[in-house]
Structure formats: C-alpha cells, structure tokens
C-alpha cells in the first residue's frame, strides 16, 4: 500500500538549479514571493511568467512533474478567479443576469489574481522539486542560525525536522502493518457509514502512538549512546558552500524586482 514512498516531491537531478545552495534557493524563492505582489499590469506579469519559465527550463525538471505538483491547487486558483470576477465592480459592464452583474474590470482582476497564485505555486513547486528535504532542513538551519542568539532552538528544530523525515516511511509501514492486523480481527476501514469509519481509526491510532513513544525513547537513548550532546561543538558532514552562482541567482531575482518597480502602474 505504501511501497515506494517518496518524501516530498524531490526529483534527483543535476541541473544548475539542483546544484544551487539551498540557502540561495530559499532566499530567491522568498524574494520572488515578495516580487509577485509588485506586479499589477500585463507587462509585469509577463516578465514574471518569463522568469518562471526560464527557471523551469534551466531546472531540467519535466513539466509533467510541475503539473502534478500544481494539480491539487487548481481548484483554489479557479475559485479565486470566480470570486474576483464576480465581485469586483469596475470598468465596463459585460453582462447582467438579474442583479448578478459581471464587469470587465472584474474579469481582468480575477485573471491577475489567479495568475499571481499560479506563479507562486509554480515557483515553490520548483523549489521542492529541485531541493531534497534534508538539504532544505540544512538550509533553514543555516539561514535561521543567527536566531540562536535570541534563544531560538534552531539546531533542535532542524534535528526534529530531519528525524521526522527519517521516520515518516517507517511510520507509514507500521500503519500498514497495524491496519492489516486489525483487519484480520474484523475491523473494517473502508466500508460503512462515516461514523463507523472514524471509530475504526481508534484501534489504528492507539497502537501507532504507543509504538511511537517507545521509538522516541529508544532513539533518544541510542543518540545519547553515540555521544549526542546538543548543537554545541558539533560538526556537519554536509557543509553548505555558497558559490558565485548562488549570488548570481539571488541578484537576478533582485534585479527583476527593481525592473518591476519601474514598470508597474
């Protein structure tokens, strides 16, 4: 049932974008998210769209993957369009059915908002497609590192994240095992009214939680036995190296931001 689990959407590869430092990718994506909100006319949206297109081409990820990553949110995009198209009363009146009126301004506004959402989703999907979860964790730990001075447990949070990543497949496998064991005892997970199905979850969750607590305790002991003593004095196998191309990537996005500042109306 849960075979071949892939955590996140990462697709291994070695394009320019794959090879970027996770910190530069995170920074660039964050900047892009800000910049998207600057766009407010056809030209600026076109520029952003071209930027995403170029990034996608350079990443060498098959458009199919990107489409799959975006599919779950299409409904949201359409809903956003409809909402804005119907409730913005600006510009020329296109048609009216009774009190229900649709204006040209509304359509345009709806298109812009939907397009903005699409751009955001495309860019973040690209980030998750080209960055392994563990790299993402390393990147976040490094970016938020300075917060340690304000007693934010950055190292611990990153470790929590990576341990979660490590145990998701294990827990899924275990869920499957428990489900089978309970099914053999006559629990029906698939059929029946919703209330019965919710009740069927209980004999699944209880053993799962008990096991997880056990695991947590065992793991803590094993970590201590291997000399774990917190982030202090710890070295890292995966060193992040910021290179020229990382600076380039961030600068490119910043430049696009400035161009948009001039071209927006």
């Amino acid at each position: 049932m849960f075979q071949n689990i892939i955590i996140g959407q990462y697709v291994a590869g070695n394009s320019f974008i794959h090879d970027l430092d996770p910190r530069s990718k995170l920074t660039a994506t964050f900047l892009f998210v800000l910049i998207v909100f600057l766009a407010n006319n056809w030209l600026t949206y076109l520029i952003l769209f071209l930027a995403v297109l170029v990034a996608m081409l350079v990443s060498n990820v098959s458009p199919n993957y990107i489409y799959k990553g975006m599919k779950p949110v299409f409904l949201l995009v359409i809903a956003m369009f409809i909402l804005h198209a119907f409730f913005t009363k600006e510009g020329e009146l296109l048609f009216a059915i009774g009190w229900f009126e649709v204006y040209l301004g509304g359509i345009i506004q709806g298109l812009f908002i939907a397009f903005r959402l699409l751009l955001l989703i495309m860019m973040t999907t690209l980030l998750t497609l080209t960055t392994a979860p563990i790299q993402m964790t390393d990147g976040l730990e490094s970016i938020f590192g300075p917060l340690r001075r304000f007693n934010v447990p950055v190292h611990e949070l990153a470790l929590m994240m990576s341990i979660s990543l490590r145990f998701i497949p294990t827990l899924l496998q275990e869920t499957e095992k428990i489900m089978k064991a309970q099914m053999a005892r006559g629990v029906d997970f698939t059929g029946g009214p919703i209330t019965r199905r919710i009740k069927a979850i209980v004999p699944l969750l209880v053993p799962l939680f008990m096991q997880s607590f056990r695991r947590a305790e065992d793991l803590a002991t094993a970590m201590e036995a291997r000399g774990y003593r917190g982030g202090e004095g710890r070295t890292k196998l995966r060193e992040l190296v910021w290179m020229k191309k990382d600076t380039m990537a961030v600068l490119t996005i910043t430049t696009i931001g400035f161009i948009l500042l001039f071209l927006r109306s």
């Binding site: 490590r166 497949p169 695991r215 793991l219 036995a225 710890r234 070295t235 196998l237």
Partner: protein, 281 residues
Amino acid sequence: MKKELIQINGLSFKYDEDGDEVLSNVDLTIHEGEWVSIVGHNGSGKSTLAKFLNALLIPNESNVVLVEGLDTVNEENIWEVRKRVGMVFQNPDNQMVATTVRDDVAFGLENIGIPPKEMVARIEWALKRVNMERYTEYEPHRLSGGQKQRIAIAGILAMRPSIIILDEATSMLDPIGRQEVLETVRMLKKEDGITVINITHDLEEAVNSDIVFVMNRGNIKIHGTPRYIFQQTEEIIGAGLELPFSLEVQKQLKSKGYQLSNACLTKEDLVNELWKLRLKT
C-alpha cells in the same frame, strides 16, 4: 595478563528510591580483546548493567565503574567513555537517526566534532568494514533488519571504539540477519582487536565466547568459560535460562542412563560424541 578494560566493583542500583534493587553488588572485570557474553532472563538487569558501561547511567560515589581507567562518576569522563564504548540496541528501527546510511554513520562523528574531510574517509572505511559500502545512499526503510544493525555497527566503528556492546542486537533478526551481524562482529574482534560484549538470553550464542557471565535478578551468579558454565546445568535453569540444544540432549540422555564423557558445547561435538558412544561400551 591482558589489560583490564572494564572494572566494576560492588555496583548496586535501583531506578526508584523505594523500588527493588535492579543491580545488587555486581563485580565485573573485562579484559582487552575478549568476547564476553552476558546472559540472563528477562528483567535480570542486563540492559541496566550495559548502560553503566557507557555512562548512560552514572553510579553514585560508593560504586566503581571504570572504563579504560576512566571513572564514570566523574562527569568530565562521560563523553570520552561514550566514544570508547559503542552500543548496538535491540530494535534496528529505533537507532537510525538520519535519512540515509551515510548521514547515519556520520551522526556519531558529528557529535564528537570530527572535521568533515576526515568524516568522509572514516565513513567510507567503516561501511567497507561491515560490507555495506554499496548502500551509502540508501534510506533506512529500504534496508533489512540485519543491514540496519550493521549500519549501527558502522556508525560505532567510525568513532574508533575499543569496546562494542550488543544489547540483544540479534534478537529481532531472522537467522540470516543474525548470522550477518555476528559474523561482522567476529571479524572486527579478530582483525581490529575490538572487545565485544554480547548481551543475550540465548545461551547458544554464548558458546564461542571467551567468558560468560550469568545474571539472575541483578546478580552475577557465576562466570567462567563456556565449557565451565555449561556444566552448571542447575545454575542455568535456576537463572531462568534455556539450555542450549546439545546440553539439553545430554541431560535427557543422562537421565536415561547414557553418560557422555565430555560436555559437548556445539551440535558437532554432540554428534561426534554420539557416534563414538557405542564404540566405548
């Protein structure tokens, strides 16, 4: 006389102030290069004892736990002791920390602050030692139980320990996995001179060790060579343990009036004794 690696004198311990003593007055000496088996029934205190050996539990002042001369009462020694004594636990799934084999072997090295360049070399070496170098990029859930335990051993090995403790490390494995793990450790003992402490309740596994300690309710009842220990059938049964197959056969034969001349520790020995039995009578 070989160097003493571990020395415990009169160690008593209870988890709760007003609970039962889990360890009472335990004495234990382990020498360099030995294969030591600690056997005992469930709850006899084996794991608790093991935790003292790598400073996961700290004795109070009146007890002595020395690891390579380092007193674990002294807090400054804890980290050094954990570097020198590696532990492999029972459940293969609950001791891998990282998302890939390579990162997991690195975990211990990161903890003790090894520079990244040296880490890479040590990881490669350790994975080769346990014959897992082809699995460097694997995620834990794609490994068998025996493979996971060997990764755990590699993670310890990379830290260059002098002692490896296996706390029922093979009890959740199938026969093949068990064989893989024991073979690996045997090789490490032979070629790298690592001292092995194997905790088990399977006496069969203790046959080839240099010395066996039998625990019963927090006490070390008897200790000695497997040959000596296996002759103390009353003690073994009294400690709630099952006799190894060959000994059980001998005991049954004896009760039927067939006395074998030598105690046979392995099935091969037993077969050899059996076919010679008629020749003598």
